[in-house]
Symmetry: C2
Subunit: 237 residues, 2 copies
Amino acid sequence: MSYKTYVILKMAINLEEQKIREHPLLREWVADAVRDMIAKGKLKPGEHICETRLASELGISRTPLREAIRLLETEGFLHVVPRRGAVVRDISIKDVTEIYEIKAALEGLSARLAARHFNKKDIERLKEINNELTKLAEKNDVNKFFKMHNQFHDYFLRASGNERLYQMNCSLIEQIHRLRLLSFTLEGRFEEAIEQHERIIKAFEKRDAELAERLVSENVMMGYRAVTTKLKQTKTA
Amino acid sequence: MSYKTYVILKMAINLEEQKIREHPLLREWVADAVRDMIAKGKLKPGEHICETRLASELGISRTPLREAIRLLETEGFLHVVPRRGAVVRDISIKDVTEIYEIKAALEGLSARLAARHFNKKDIERLKEINNELTKLAEKNDVNKFFKMHNQFHDYFLRASGNERLYQMNCSLIEQIHRLRLLSFTLEGRFEEAIEQHERIIKAFEKRDAELAERLVSENVMMGYRAVTTKLKQTKTA
DNA sequence: TACCTGTATACTGTATACAATTTTCACTCC
DNA sequence: GGAGTGAAAATTGTATACAGTATACAGGTA
Protein backbone atom coordinates (compact mmCIF):
# COMPACT_ATOMS: atom_id res chain seq x y z
CA MET A 1 0.00 0.00 0.00
CA SER A 2 1.34 3.40 -0.96
CA TYR A 3 1.38 6.32 1.40
CA LYS A 4 -1.30 8.07 -0.66
CA THR A 5 -3.64 5.11 -0.40
CA TYR A 6 -2.97 5.06 3.32
CA VAL A 7 -3.88 8.73 3.60
CA ILE A 8 -7.16 8.23 1.79
CA LEU A 9 -8.05 5.21 3.90
CA LYS A 10 -7.21 6.96 7.15
CA MET A 11 -9.33 9.92 6.12
CA ALA A 12 -12.23 7.70 5.21
CA ILE A 13 -12.05 5.73 8.43
CA ASN A 14 -11.73 8.72 10.70
CA LEU A 15 -14.01 11.06 8.87
CA GLU A 16 -16.05 11.91 11.93
CA GLU A 17 -13.20 11.89 14.38
CA GLN A 18 -11.04 14.84 15.20
CA LYS A 19 -9.62 16.48 12.16
CA ILE A 20 -6.26 15.39 13.51
CA ARG A 21 -6.47 12.50 11.11
CA GLU A 22 -7.04 14.58 8.05
CA HIS A 23 -3.31 14.79 7.58
CA PRO A 24 -1.82 11.50 8.64
CA LEU A 25 1.74 11.48 9.75
CA LEU A 26 4.51 9.79 7.87
CA ARG A 27 5.97 8.43 11.08
CA GLU A 28 2.75 6.57 11.80
CA TRP A 29 2.48 5.21 8.32
CA VAL A 30 6.12 4.16 8.40
CA ALA A 31 5.65 2.41 11.74
CA ASP A 32 2.66 0.53 10.32
CA ALA A 33 4.60 -0.32 7.18
CA VAL A 34 7.63 -1.63 9.07
CA ARG A 35 5.48 -3.65 11.47
CA ASP A 36 3.83 -5.13 8.42
CA MET A 37 7.15 -5.91 6.78
CA ILE A 38 8.26 -7.71 9.92
CA ALA A 39 4.99 -9.63 10.17
CA LYS A 40 5.17 -10.64 6.52
CA GLY A 41 8.79 -11.70 6.84
CA LYS A 42 10.05 -9.07 4.45
CA LEU A 43 12.28 -7.93 7.27
CA LYS A 44 13.74 -10.95 9.01
CA PRO A 45 14.70 -11.30 12.66
CA GLY A 46 18.27 -10.25 13.24
CA GLU A 47 18.28 -8.22 10.04
CA HIS A 48 19.90 -4.84 10.27
CA ILE A 49 17.81 -1.89 9.18
CA CYS A 50 19.72 0.60 7.11
CA GLU A 51 17.93 3.91 7.52
CA THR A 52 19.11 5.37 4.24
CA ARG A 53 18.08 2.38 2.18
CA LEU A 54 14.74 1.72 3.88
CA ALA A 55 13.82 5.40 3.72
CA SER A 56 14.46 5.53 0.00
CA GLU A 57 12.62 2.25 -0.49
CA LEU A 58 9.59 3.73 1.25
CA GLY A 59 10.03 6.94 -0.70
CA ILE A 60 10.49 9.16 2.33
CA SER A 61 13.35 10.84 4.17
CA ARG A 62 15.20 9.49 7.17
CA THR A 63 13.61 11.85 9.68
CA PRO A 64 10.14 10.27 9.95
CA LEU A 65 11.69 6.82 9.63
CA ARG A 66 13.92 7.49 12.60
CA GLU A 67 10.95 8.67 14.66
CA ALA A 68 9.10 5.49 13.71
CA ILE A 69 12.12 3.44 14.76
CA ARG A 70 11.97 4.98 18.23
CA LEU A 71 8.33 3.90 18.49
CA LEU A 72 8.99 0.40 17.23
CA GLU A 73 11.82 0.12 19.70
CA THR A 74 9.55 0.78 22.69
CA GLU A 75 7.00 -1.57 21.18
CA GLY A 76 9.60 -4.31 21.16
CA PHE A 77 9.80 -4.86 17.42
CA LEU A 78 13.28 -3.46 17.03
CA HIS A 79 16.42 -3.48 19.09
CA VAL A 80 18.46 -0.32 18.75
CA VAL A 81 22.15 -0.15 19.55
CA PRO A 82 23.46 3.42 19.64
CA ARG A 83 25.52 4.31 16.61
CA ARG A 84 25.01 0.88 15.13
CA GLY A 85 21.40 1.07 14.19
CA ALA A 86 18.31 -1.03 14.57
CA VAL A 87 17.90 -4.76 14.12
CA VAL A 88 14.65 -6.69 13.89
CA ARG A 89 14.08 -8.45 17.18
CA ASP A 90 13.53 -12.14 17.11
CA ILE A 91 10.71 -13.45 19.26
CA SER A 92 11.96 -16.35 21.29
CA ILE A 93 9.93 -18.68 23.46
CA LYS A 94 11.28 -16.71 26.41
CA ASP A 95 9.75 -13.54 24.98
CA VAL A 96 6.42 -15.26 24.41
CA THR A 97 6.48 -16.51 27.98
CA GLU A 98 7.23 -13.04 29.33
CA ILE A 99 4.46 -11.51 27.28
CA TYR A 100 1.86 -14.06 28.26
CA GLU A 101 2.72 -13.89 31.94
CA ILE A 102 2.09 -10.17 31.86
CA LYS A 103 -0.95 -10.47 29.60
CA ALA A 104 -2.55 -12.93 31.99
CA ALA A 105 -2.09 -10.52 34.88
CA LEU A 106 -3.34 -7.49 32.94
CA GLU A 107 -6.36 -9.15 31.38
CA GLY A 108 -7.24 -10.78 34.68
CA LEU A 109 -7.10 -7.39 36.35
CA SER A 110 -9.29 -5.86 33.66
CA ALA A 111 -11.89 -8.58 34.19
CA ARG A 112 -11.92 -7.95 37.93
CA LEU A 113 -12.31 -4.21 37.42
CA ALA A 114 -14.95 -4.62 34.73
CA ALA A 115 -16.96 -7.07 36.83
CA ARG A 116 -17.61 -4.30 39.34
CA HIS A 117 -19.91 -2.37 37.07
CA PHE A 118 -21.01 -4.89 34.49
CA ASN A 119 -24.73 -4.80 33.83
CA LYS A 120 -27.15 -7.03 31.93
CA LYS A 121 -26.45 -5.27 28.66
CA ASP A 122 -22.75 -5.97 28.93
CA ILE A 123 -23.38 -9.64 29.65
CA GLU A 124 -25.73 -9.81 26.68
CA ARG A 125 -23.08 -8.35 24.43
CA LEU A 126 -20.55 -10.94 25.56
CA LYS A 127 -23.07 -13.71 24.96
CA GLU A 128 -23.76 -12.34 21.49
CA ILE A 129 -20.07 -12.36 20.65
CA ASN A 130 -19.72 -15.89 21.93
CA ASN A 131 -22.68 -16.98 19.81
CA GLU A 132 -21.04 -15.44 16.78
CA LEU A 133 -17.89 -17.33 17.68
CA THR A 134 -19.84 -20.60 17.72
CA LYS A 135 -21.11 -19.90 14.22
CA LEU A 136 -17.67 -18.96 12.93
CA ALA A 137 -16.21 -22.09 14.51
CA GLU A 138 -18.70 -24.18 12.54
CA LYS A 139 -17.64 -22.44 9.35
CA ASN A 140 -14.03 -22.93 10.39
CA ASP A 141 -13.25 -19.30 9.50
CA VAL A 142 -9.99 -18.70 11.34
CA ASN A 143 -9.55 -15.06 10.41
CA LYS A 144 -13.04 -13.96 11.37
CA PHE A 145 -12.98 -16.09 14.49
CA PHE A 146 -9.73 -14.45 15.53
CA LYS A 147 -11.14 -10.97 15.07
CA MET A 148 -14.35 -11.73 16.93
CA HIS A 149 -12.39 -13.48 19.65
CA ASN A 150 -10.35 -10.34 20.14
CA GLN A 151 -13.54 -8.34 20.44
CA PHE A 152 -14.60 -10.53 23.35
CA HIS A 153 -11.43 -9.75 25.24
CA ASP A 154 -11.41 -6.13 24.20
CA TYR A 155 -14.84 -5.76 25.70
CA PHE A 156 -13.82 -6.13 29.30
CA LEU A 157 -10.40 -4.60 28.75
CA ARG A 158 -12.20 -1.43 27.71
CA ALA A 159 -14.91 -1.83 30.33
CA SER A 160 -12.26 -1.93 33.03
CA GLY A 161 -12.20 1.85 32.70
CA ASN A 162 -8.42 1.77 32.88
CA GLU A 163 -7.20 3.26 29.62
CA ARG A 164 -3.54 2.49 30.28
CA LEU A 165 -4.37 -1.13 30.91
CA TYR A 166 -6.03 -1.36 27.53
CA GLN A 167 -3.15 0.33 25.75
CA MET A 168 -0.52 -1.79 27.43
CA ASN A 169 -2.35 -4.95 26.47
CA CYS A 170 -2.65 -3.76 22.87
CA SER A 171 1.05 -3.08 22.74
CA LEU A 172 1.76 -6.57 24.06
CA ILE A 173 -0.48 -8.54 21.74
CA GLU A 174 0.70 -6.62 18.71
CA GLN A 175 4.07 -8.25 19.17
CA ILE A 176 2.60 -11.73 19.01
CA HIS A 177 -0.20 -11.03 16.57
CA ARG A 178 0.85 -13.57 13.98
CA LEU A 179 1.59 -16.29 16.49
CA ARG A 180 -1.82 -15.88 18.07
CA LEU A 181 -3.54 -16.02 14.71
CA LEU A 182 -1.63 -19.16 13.83
CA SER A 183 -2.56 -20.80 17.11
CA PHE A 184 -6.23 -20.81 16.11
CA THR A 185 -5.51 -23.34 13.41
CA LEU A 186 -4.93 -25.91 16.13
CA GLU A 187 -7.44 -28.75 16.41
CA GLY A 188 -10.07 -28.05 19.06
CA ARG A 189 -8.85 -24.51 19.76
CA PHE A 190 -12.17 -22.87 18.83
CA GLU A 191 -14.27 -25.06 21.11
CA GLU A 192 -11.84 -24.70 23.97
CA ALA A 193 -12.01 -20.90 23.76
CA ILE A 194 -15.79 -20.79 23.46
CA GLU A 195 -16.25 -23.03 26.45
CA GLN A 196 -13.92 -20.93 28.59
CA HIS A 197 -15.70 -17.79 27.48
CA GLU A 198 -18.95 -19.27 28.71
CA ARG A 199 -17.45 -19.87 32.12
CA ILE A 200 -16.14 -16.30 32.17
CA ILE A 201 -19.58 -14.95 31.28
CA LYS A 202 -21.12 -16.95 34.12
CA ALA A 203 -18.63 -15.47 36.53
CA PHE A 204 -19.63 -11.98 35.37
CA GLU A 205 -23.29 -12.89 35.78
CA LYS A 206 -22.61 -13.99 39.34
CA ARG A 207 -20.76 -10.70 39.83
CA ASP A 208 -17.85 -12.74 41.10
CA ALA A 209 -14.95 -10.46 40.28
CA GLU A 210 -12.29 -12.73 41.77
CA LEU A 211 -13.52 -15.72 39.80
CA ALA A 212 -13.70 -13.69 36.59
CA GLU A 213 -10.12 -12.58 37.15
CA ARG A 214 -8.92 -16.12 37.70
CA LEU A 215 -10.79 -17.55 34.73
CA VAL A 216 -9.55 -14.85 32.39
CA SER A 217 -5.98 -15.38 33.54
CA GLU A 218 -6.34 -19.10 32.97
CA ASN A 219 -7.87 -18.41 29.57
CA VAL A 220 -4.85 -16.32 28.62
CA MET A 221 -2.48 -19.02 29.75
CA MET A 222 -4.39 -21.51 27.66
CA GLY A 223 -3.70 -19.24 24.74
CA TYR A 224 -0.07 -19.35 25.77
CA ARG A 225 -0.02 -23.14 25.63
CA ALA A 226 -1.67 -23.07 22.19
CA VAL A 227 0.85 -20.57 20.87
CA THR A 228 3.86 -22.45 22.17
CA THR A 229 2.48 -25.72 20.83
CA LYS A 230 2.12 -24.17 17.41
CA LEU A 231 5.50 -22.53 17.71
CA LYS A 232 7.18 -25.87 18.36
CA GLN A 233 5.24 -27.47 15.51
CA THR A 234 6.39 -24.88 13.01
CA LYS A 235 9.97 -24.85 14.28
CA THR A 236 10.35 -28.59 13.86
CA ALA A 237 8.44 -28.73 10.58
CA MET B 1 23.70 20.22 34.22
CA SER B 2 25.29 20.78 30.85
CA TYR B 3 25.50 18.11 28.19
CA LYS B 4 29.27 17.86 28.66
CA THR B 5 28.91 17.24 32.38
CA TYR B 6 26.30 14.61 31.56
CA VAL B 7 28.67 12.91 29.13
CA ILE B 8 31.43 12.74 31.71
CA LEU B 9 29.07 11.40 34.36
CA LYS B 10 27.60 8.78 32.05
CA MET B 11 31.09 7.68 31.10
CA ALA B 12 32.12 7.42 34.73
CA ILE B 13 29.04 5.48 35.75
CA ASN B 14 29.11 3.04 32.90
CA LEU B 15 32.84 2.61 32.64
CA GLU B 16 32.70 -1.13 32.78
CA GLU B 17 29.58 -1.54 30.69
CA GLN B 18 29.47 -1.83 26.96
CA LYS B 19 31.30 0.92 25.23
CA ILE B 20 27.91 1.90 23.89
CA ARG B 21 27.80 4.45 26.66
CA GLU B 22 31.09 6.05 25.80
CA HIS B 23 29.27 8.35 23.45
CA PRO B 24 25.94 9.19 25.07
CA LEU B 25 23.14 10.22 22.83
CA LEU B 26 21.60 13.64 22.82
CA ARG B 27 18.11 12.18 22.61
CA GLU B 28 18.66 10.35 25.89
CA TRP B 29 20.13 13.34 27.61
CA VAL B 30 17.27 15.48 26.36
CA ALA B 31 14.69 12.98 27.58
CA ASP B 32 16.33 12.99 31.02
CA ALA B 33 16.48 16.77 31.00
CA VAL B 34 12.83 17.19 30.05
CA ARG B 35 11.68 14.62 32.62
CA ASP B 36 13.64 16.57 35.16
CA MET B 37 12.12 19.86 34.08
CA ILE B 38 8.67 18.36 34.47
CA ALA B 39 9.50 16.88 37.88
CA LYS B 40 10.92 20.21 39.07
CA GLY B 41 7.92 22.12 37.78
CA LYS B 42 9.96 24.07 35.26
CA LEU B 43 7.57 22.70 32.67
CA LYS B 44 4.06 22.84 34.02
CA PRO B 45 1.18 20.47 33.28
CA GLY B 46 -0.81 21.62 30.29
CA GLU B 47 2.09 23.73 29.07
CA HIS B 48 2.81 23.54 25.38
CA ILE B 49 6.32 22.59 24.38
CA CYS B 50 7.67 24.67 21.55
CA GLU B 51 10.32 22.56 19.86
CA THR B 52 12.27 25.48 18.46
CA ARG B 53 12.45 27.35 21.74
CA LEU B 54 13.19 24.34 23.96
CA ALA B 55 15.84 23.06 21.54
CA SER B 56 17.64 26.37 21.56
CA GLU B 57 17.30 26.62 25.34
CA LEU B 58 18.96 23.21 25.66
CA GLY B 59 21.53 24.25 23.09
CA ILE B 60 20.72 21.50 20.62
CA SER B 61 18.81 21.13 17.37
CA ARG B 62 15.21 20.02 16.98
CA THR B 63 16.03 16.55 15.66
CA PRO B 64 17.18 14.88 18.91
CA LEU B 65 14.53 16.82 20.84
CA ARG B 66 11.83 15.43 18.60
CA GLU B 67 13.11 11.90 19.10
CA ALA B 68 13.11 12.45 22.85
CA ILE B 69 9.54 13.74 22.63
CA ARG B 70 8.46 10.45 20.99
CA LEU B 71 9.98 8.59 23.92
CA LEU B 72 8.41 10.83 26.54
CA GLU B 73 5.08 10.40 24.80
CA THR B 74 5.12 6.63 25.18
CA GLU B 75 6.30 7.07 28.75
CA GLY B 76 3.22 9.14 29.46
CA PHE B 77 4.95 12.42 30.29
CA LEU B 78 3.77 14.23 27.19
CA HIS B 79 0.66 14.24 25.12
CA VAL B 80 1.30 14.80 21.44
CA VAL B 81 -1.34 16.07 19.05
CA PRO B 82 -0.27 15.80 15.41
CA ARG B 83 0.72 19.10 13.92
CA ARG B 84 -0.02 20.90 17.15
CA GLY B 85 2.84 19.70 19.23
CA ALA B 86 3.40 18.29 22.66
CA VAL B 87 1.89 19.36 25.95
CA VAL B 88 2.98 18.30 29.41
CA ARG B 89 0.50 15.79 30.70
CA ASP B 90 -1.13 16.51 34.00
CA ILE B 91 -1.32 13.62 36.39
CA SER B 92 -4.84 13.40 37.73
CA ILE B 93 -6.11 11.17 40.49
CA LYS B 94 -7.57 9.03 37.74
CA ASP B 95 -4.09 8.54 36.26
CA VAL B 96 -2.64 7.67 39.64
CA THR B 97 -5.42 5.13 40.14
CA GLU B 98 -4.78 3.57 36.74
CA ILE B 99 -1.08 3.35 37.36
CA TYR B 100 -1.43 1.81 40.81
CA GLU B 101 -3.99 -0.74 39.68
CA ILE B 102 -1.55 -1.95 37.06
CA LYS B 103 1.45 -1.68 39.35
CA ALA B 104 -0.27 -3.84 41.95
CA ALA B 105 -0.92 -6.54 39.36
CA LEU B 106 2.59 -6.40 37.90
CA GLU B 107 4.46 -6.36 41.20
CA GLY B 108 2.21 -9.08 42.56
CA LEU B 109 2.98 -11.20 39.54
CA SER B 110 6.70 -10.60 39.93
CA ALA B 111 6.52 -11.72 43.56
CA ARG B 112 4.72 -14.91 42.57
CA LEU B 113 7.27 -15.67 39.87
CA ALA B 114 10.22 -14.80 42.07
CA ALA B 115 8.92 -16.96 44.93
CA ARG B 116 9.35 -20.03 42.75
CA HIS B 117 13.10 -19.92 42.82
CA PHE B 118 13.94 -17.78 45.82
CA ASN B 119 16.65 -19.29 47.99
CA LYS B 120 18.04 -18.48 51.44
CA LYS B 121 20.44 -15.93 50.06
CA ASP B 122 17.63 -13.98 48.44
CA ILE B 123 15.65 -13.97 51.66
CA GLU B 124 18.71 -12.81 53.55
CA ARG B 125 19.17 -9.93 51.15
CA LEU B 126 15.57 -8.83 51.61
CA LYS B 127 15.98 -8.99 55.38
CA GLU B 128 19.15 -6.92 55.13
CA ILE B 129 17.37 -4.27 53.13
CA ASN B 130 14.51 -4.18 55.60
CA ASN B 131 16.97 -3.81 58.48
CA GLU B 132 18.54 -0.88 56.67
CA LEU B 133 15.08 0.57 56.25
CA THR B 134 14.48 0.33 59.99
CA LYS B 135 17.68 2.27 60.64
CA LEU B 136 16.82 4.91 58.07
CA ALA B 137 13.34 5.23 59.52
CA GLU B 138 14.88 6.04 62.90
CA LYS B 139 17.01 8.70 61.28
CA ASN B 140 13.93 9.93 59.46
CA ASP B 141 15.90 10.15 56.21
CA VAL B 142 13.15 10.27 53.60
CA ASN B 143 15.38 10.29 50.53
CA LYS B 144 17.57 7.37 51.54
CA PHE B 145 14.56 5.46 52.83
CA PHE B 146 12.84 5.94 49.50
CA LYS B 147 15.85 4.65 47.56
CA MET B 148 16.34 1.64 49.80
CA HIS B 149 12.61 0.96 49.72
CA ASN B 150 12.77 0.86 45.94
CA GLN B 151 15.64 -1.62 46.14
CA PHE B 152 13.42 -3.94 48.13
CA HIS B 153 10.79 -3.97 45.43
CA ASP B 154 13.33 -4.06 42.62
CA TYR B 155 14.76 -7.19 44.12
CA PHE B 156 11.86 -9.47 43.34
CA LEU B 157 10.89 -7.57 40.19
CA ARG B 158 14.31 -8.50 38.84
CA ALA B 159 14.24 -11.95 40.38
CA SER B 160 11.00 -12.68 38.56
CA GLY B 161 13.18 -13.35 35.54
CA ASN B 162 10.70 -11.43 33.39
CA GLU B 163 12.66 -8.56 31.92
CA ARG B 164 9.62 -6.92 30.32
CA LEU B 165 7.81 -6.96 33.64
CA TYR B 166 10.67 -5.08 35.26
CA GLN B 167 10.85 -2.54 32.46
CA MET B 168 7.12 -1.92 32.42
CA ASN B 169 7.09 -1.33 36.15
CA CYS B 170 10.00 1.09 35.85
CA SER B 171 8.18 3.00 33.18
CA LEU B 172 5.09 3.23 35.39
CA ILE B 173 6.75 4.40 38.58
CA GLU B 174 8.82 6.96 36.75
CA GLN B 175 5.60 8.81 36.05
CA ILE B 176 4.73 9.05 39.73
CA HIS B 177 8.23 9.33 41.10
CA ARG B 178 7.73 12.62 42.86
CA LEU B 179 4.36 11.70 44.29
CA ARG B 180 5.75 8.49 45.74
CA LEU B 181 8.67 10.31 47.29
CA LEU B 182 6.33 12.84 48.81
CA SER B 183 4.12 10.13 50.24
CA PHE B 184 6.96 8.97 52.49
CA THR B 185 6.71 12.17 54.48
CA LEU B 186 3.39 10.95 55.86
CA GLU B 187 3.26 10.10 59.53
CA GLY B 188 3.73 6.38 60.15
CA ARG B 189 4.47 5.57 56.51
CA PHE B 190 7.91 4.12 57.25
CA GLU B 191 6.72 1.72 59.91
CA GLU B 192 3.76 0.63 57.84
CA ALA B 193 6.02 -0.27 54.93
CA ILE B 194 8.59 -2.08 57.05
CA GLU B 195 5.92 -4.15 58.72
CA GLN B 196 4.39 -5.17 55.42
CA HIS B 197 7.81 -6.02 54.07
CA GLU B 198 8.30 -8.38 56.98
CA ARG B 199 5.08 -10.17 56.15
CA ILE B 200 6.16 -10.42 52.51
CA ILE B 201 9.52 -11.89 53.53
CA LYS B 202 7.74 -14.48 55.65
CA ALA B 203 5.61 -15.48 52.69
CA PHE B 204 8.76 -15.93 50.62
CA GLU B 205 10.28 -18.02 53.43
CA LYS B 206 7.23 -20.25 53.44
CA ARG B 207 7.58 -20.49 49.65
CA ASP B 208 3.95 -19.43 49.46
CA ALA B 209 3.87 -17.78 46.05
CA GLU B 210 0.16 -17.00 46.14
CA LEU B 211 0.44 -15.31 49.52
CA ALA B 212 3.49 -13.34 48.41
CA GLU B 213 1.58 -12.15 45.38
CA ARG B 214 -1.38 -11.05 47.44
CA LEU B 215 0.71 -9.31 50.08
CA VAL B 216 2.77 -7.44 47.50
CA SER B 217 -0.36 -6.31 45.70
CA GLU B 218 -1.81 -5.11 48.98
CA ASN B 219 1.45 -3.37 49.77
CA VAL B 220 1.29 -1.52 46.46
CA MET B 221 -2.29 -0.47 47.10
CA MET B 222 -1.25 0.83 50.49
CA GLY B 223 1.26 2.97 48.64
CA TYR B 224 -1.64 4.12 46.50
CA ARG B 225 -3.62 5.24 49.53
CA ALA B 226 -0.60 7.08 50.89
CA VAL B 227 -0.02 8.86 47.59
CA THR B 228 -3.64 9.92 47.19
CA THR B 229 -3.78 11.10 50.79
CA LYS B 230 -0.73 13.24 50.20
CA LEU B 231 -2.11 14.41 46.87
CA LYS B 232 -5.30 15.64 48.50
CA GLN B 233 -3.34 17.32 51.27
CA THR B 234 -1.20 19.28 48.85
CA LYS B 235 -4.12 20.16 46.58
CA THR B 236 -6.14 21.63 49.42
CA ALA B 237 -3.15 23.30 51.06
C1' DT C 1 48.19 -18.47 9.05
C1' DA C 2 46.93 -15.30 12.55
C1' DC C 3 46.97 -10.78 14.05
C1' DC C 4 47.44 -5.91 13.77
C1' DT C 5 46.77 -1.43 11.55
C1' DG C 6 45.41 2.16 8.66
C1' DT C 7 42.32 3.74 5.25
C1' DA C 8 38.10 3.83 2.55
C1' DT C 9 33.30 3.29 2.88
C1' DA C 10 28.85 3.00 4.89
C1' DC C 11 26.00 4.33 8.30
C1' DT C 12 24.16 6.80 12.25
C1' DG C 13 23.68 11.26 14.93
C1' DT C 14 22.88 16.03 14.63
C1' DA C 15 22.04 20.44 12.48
C1' DT C 16 19.80 23.11 9.24
C1' DA C 17 16.65 24.28 5.46
C1' DC C 18 12.29 24.19 3.47
C1' DA C 19 7.20 23.06 3.17
C1' DA C 20 2.72 22.69 5.10
C1' DT C 21 -0.30 23.65 8.74
C1' DT C 22 -2.02 25.98 12.75
C1' DT C 23 -2.45 30.04 15.44
C1' DT C 24 -2.81 34.91 16.04
C1' DC C 25 -4.71 39.13 15.42
C1' DA C 26 -6.16 43.11 13.10
C1' DC C 27 -10.09 44.20 10.48
C1' DT C 28 -14.73 44.03 8.60
C1' DC C 29 -19.48 43.29 8.79
C1' DC C 30 -23.75 42.24 11.20
C1' DG D 1 -20.03 43.67 21.16
C1' DG D 2 -19.45 39.34 18.72
C1' DA D 3 -18.81 36.44 14.64
C1' DG D 4 -16.48 35.89 10.57
C1' DT D 5 -12.28 36.66 7.38
C1' DG D 6 -7.73 36.79 5.69
C1' DA D 7 -2.95 37.69 5.88
C1' DA D 8 1.20 37.34 8.87
C1' DA D 9 3.66 34.87 12.30
C1' DA D 10 4.66 30.87 14.71
C1' DT D 11 5.05 26.08 14.83
C1' DT D 12 5.25 21.42 13.32
C1' DG D 13 6.44 17.97 9.62
C1' DT D 14 9.74 16.54 6.28
C1' DA D 15 13.94 16.66 3.51
C1' DT D 16 18.63 17.33 3.11
C1' DA D 17 23.42 18.34 4.47
C1' DC D 18 27.20 17.57 7.24
C1' DA D 19 30.01 15.47 11.06
C1' DG D 20 31.54 11.76 13.62
C1' DT D 21 31.59 6.76 14.44
C1' DA D 22 31.60 1.88 13.12
C1' DT D 23 32.69 -1.57 9.70
C1' DA D 24 35.20 -3.88 6.03
C1' DC D 25 39.09 -4.85 3.89
C1' DA D 26 43.73 -4.46 1.98
C1' DG D 27 48.35 -4.64 3.23
C1' DG D 28 51.96 -5.33 6.42
C1' DT D 29 54.20 -7.93 10.37
C1' DA D 30 55.31 -11.71 13.51
